[in-house]
Symmetry: C2
Subunit: 317 residues, 2 copies
């Protein structure tokens, strides 16, 4: 692992869950001399300053980005391009410009044209989050043990990549490097499809006439409640993801629907062996996720009072 | 609420997650003079006795059910009928016969014909569970604050219904009464569809060529991992549910697919407003589920270390 990096001045563009968590993580590890912040609303800027995960708040993106050695754009994907355009004139030679957007080809497309000569543009995406948003949602531990994917464009200076890598490591992450196109395909299946499916099933359940909303809520512990967490995520963020990762998402949706049609057929024709087969095959993957430290072992995600303790013990193994 | 009930002798047919949890819950509340147990395998019977949630283990269902005042069948749905046939000759006059199966019309169909004159048959379904199974998976608190649905058939004696209701209340549940047919429709959307969709998406992710299994596992914290919990549930149980609640499940799958086609279209045509609309509409339901005490408020189901504490505080509100 590389030595702990230090930046004189870091600028956060967007002060919500991810921007906020980055601010907290930088403070925890002492990675920045000064953290300047920009957000759209005066309320968010004031709150971020009050919480203390930034040292100064600015009314424009350009003011916040001025003199920064590291600029991290943490807005929804649809706003990355306009923020980049706004800060283009003030970006310092030698600075690293990165982002945390959930898609990467669109970032290369939208931010790329606004990167001045001598600025190191390295798109990134921390694979960590919660269903909450806004400046109060962030916390220093969000990235601990999670992965951060960097998707450098051709010609990226190895030293800049290494420094940004060390930065994310110091924030608690493991770092992977891959092509933007591959990132978007991988994320389409591990993140975008799950969210879209969750939104869809919650929508379907809300629209029924024969089953009331109150029944759905009362009996949700039988499975449904798990989907409502993802379906409570920020609508702007997810609209932007869907609009900006269209092809991979449609590809994954196509495969999902095909598989679902086969499953539906097995149910219709009472093919117990096919059902048993699929339901057995899918078990192993959860064990691997737990072994990889990407989820806790406790049943019900540890939500059962007595099992919460067992969870922590399991986690330590 | 009715007075705490007491049964001289309770028989549990099936000693897995639900049978075991019932045993623990009865011991906790002192609801039975003696709990006899039956399970298919000698290992399960021995383990249940060792853990102590039953007082005696029996090699046949009939032996275990003999002289019982309350018999609860806790096997997978596909085995309920054969267990009922086996115990039919020994069931005591005046005894209550119930079950915990996840579908109810099929139970009326399969168990109904084996109920002797004078035995009170009241199908039931506790809306509580985890992704684990077997005799070690159970715990006394499983039913606390969850709902138990009873689906009495026409002609059920009110006193028997009241006694079984009081039993579940004493095990920690809230009790609802509804028609078996309505139960199966409600559960198709709140439980069966979520599990089927979870199994399906995990299957889709496992079959990709362009994204490796190891990538799916590493980056699963971005959404996918939530589905793997449901998809790690017992294959036999879920095969039996699919085989025995066909029509309602196919009806819900049809609606889900229709909605997904519309959503897919919105993504294909870049209809940001339609996407934003759906993604906004689905948020409220999670709040209602939390307010109803059916899930915890903490982000990420409380899996983030620092947020676990906040979760408990929220829960108390
Ligand atoms: N949430 C996750 O789980 C997650 C995980 C990994 C990556 N990401 C990515 O991280 C980024 C931020 O997500 P988040 O969850 O931190 O969102 P968030 O909590 O909603 O915060 C977004 C921030 O961006 C600002 N903003 C929004 N629209 C803007 C605009 N048009 N121009 C300038 N600023 C704008 C907001 O300002 P105001 O507060 O003033 O509105 C807010 O400070 C997104 O690109 C997302 O794809 C999210
Ligand atoms: N899991 C949930 O979340 C949940 C929630 C509500 C209701 N339910 C319902 O509760 C019932 C039991 O589920 P569970 O989770 O407790 O299952 P489980 O942990 O797998 O236990 C099933 C028990 O039934 C026995 N059994 C299995 N097949 C049998 C057969 N053909 N004949 C006789 N006994 C047999 C098993 O014996 P061996 O151990 O010897 O194999 C075991 O003791 C199912 O009807 C299910 O639909 C489940």
């Amino acid at each position: 692992m590389s030595a702990k990096p230090h930046f004189e001045r870091v600028a956060l563009m967007g002060l919500g869950l991810i921007g906020g968590s980055l601010g907290h993580a930088m403070k925890r590890a002492g990675l920045a001399g000064h953290v300047s912040g920009y957000a759209r609303s005066v309320e968010t800027r004031a709150r971020a300053l009050e919480i203390g995960f930034i040292d100064s708040a600015h009314e424009t993106a350009a003011e916040a980005a001025k003199n920064a050695d590291l600029v991290v754009i943490c807005t929804p994907v649809g706003a990355l391009g306009s923020v980049a355009a706004e800060i283009e004139p003030v970006l310092k030679k030698g600075a690293i410009l990165t982002d945390v957007g959930s898609v990467k080809m669109a970032v290369v497309r939208d931010v790329g044209p606004h990167v001045p000569e001598g600025v190191h543009f390295i798109p990134g995406h921390p694979i960590a989050g919660t269903e909450e948003s806004g400046p109060d949602a962030g916390f220093a531990e969000l990235f601990d043990g999670r992965w951060c994917i960097l998707t450098p464009v051709p010609g990226t200076e190895p030293q800049a990549l290494e420094k940004l890598s060390a930065f994310w490591t110091a924030c608690g992450s493991n770092v992977d490097v891959m092509e933007p196109r591959h990132h978007d395909l991988v994320l389409a299946i591990v993140s975008h499809l799950p969210h879209i499916i969750a939104y869809n099933i919650v929508g379907t359940a809300s629209d029924l006439e024969a089953v009331t909303q109150s029944e759905v809520i009362k009996y949700s512990a039988s499975g449904f409640r798990d989907f409502t967490r993802l379906a409570a995520s920020d609508p702007t963020m997810w609209r932007d993801v869907c609009l900006n990762n269209k092809e991979p998402i449609l590809e994954m949706l196509g495969r999902f629907s095909e598989d679902l049609t086969a499953l539906q057929r097995a149910i219709r024709w009472g093919d117990g062996d096919a059902l048993f087969d699929l339901f057995t095959r899918t078990r192993a993957i959860r064990r691997s996720i737990i072994d990889a430290g990407q989820d806790i072992a406790a049943p019900n995600f540890g939500r059962n009072p007595t099992h919460a303790k067992a969870a922590d013990e399991d986690d330590v193994q």
